[in-house]
Every structure is written in C-alpha cells, then in structure tokens.
Point group: C2
Chain length 80, copies 2
C-alpha cells in the first residue's frame, strides 16, 4: 500500500523557505504569486492489508517522528 | 487559485533523507514499512483566472526554480 504524509508549518508560524521561494519567483517575473509555503512530503510503501490499520499506523508515524506538532500540521493520504 | 508542486528525487537517485526516516521508523517498531522517499511540497497561492494559464505558469516555476530536473521530478496539482 502506498501512502503519503504531507508535513507543513502551521499557519502563523514563520516560513523562511517559503518566503525565499516567493522572493525568487518574483525576481524571475512571476508576479501573480501571492503566497508560498514550503513543506515536506514523505512517500511510504507499507505492507498493511487494511486501510484502517494503515491509516492508524501512518498517523502514529507522523505524530511520533515525522511532524513536530508544536509548529507543524500533517495530512495522511492513502494512494491505493 | 491554490496549487501545489511536489518535488521528488527521481527513481534511482539515492535518497539519504528517505533512508534515514526508514531506519528511524524501523527502530520505533514500524516494521511494515518497505520504502520511504522524502521530497518537498510547495504550496502556492496564485492570482490567475484560468486553469490553463495557472498550470502553464506553475510548470514554468517548477522548471526554472523549484526542481532540479537532472535528479528530480515534479508534479503540479491545482486545488480549486
């Protein structure tokens, strides 16, 4: 089973990488860009048979290791 | 218009961050994990009216700035 976990900084937490990308895009002439946020995506191949079990495991992985819940949000998506 | 660009290392390109996460998950007891790849996600708020134009601009941003096409793939997703 394939899954992805997106980890993004929470709204209100300063995102210097996003700001740097925004500036760089402006300098390249992309003037319709209004906001940029940068995050991580972790793609995981998982040997679980049930979707519920996989979801529960992925949530646990996100909360134990992948996301810092003080400043980050995460979102789990199962792909098949 | 909201969009996201995922940037992942191409298959076959070594992904040390993904490997480190895989090891750490194993040590935490997540033994059903088979593969992990880590990438970047860039969320962009864009003032474009047409979907086609937005897609074209985002493709350009990915190829000019966000992805290194020698070692990375990208995927553009429009969210509304």
């Amino acid at each position: 089973m394939k899954a992805r976990i997106d980890v993004m900084l929470r709204d209100g937490v300063l995102d210097p990488q996003g700001k740097a990308i925004h500036q760089a895009l402006k300098h390249l002439g992309f003037d319709t860009v209004q906001e940029v946020r940068q995050g991580k995506v972790i793609e995981i191949e998982l040997a679980e048979s049930s979707h519920e079990q996989a979801s529960a495991r992925l949530k646990e992985m996100a909360e134990k290791l992948l996301a810092n819940l003080v400043i980050e949000n995460y979102r789990v998506t199962l792909q098949d």
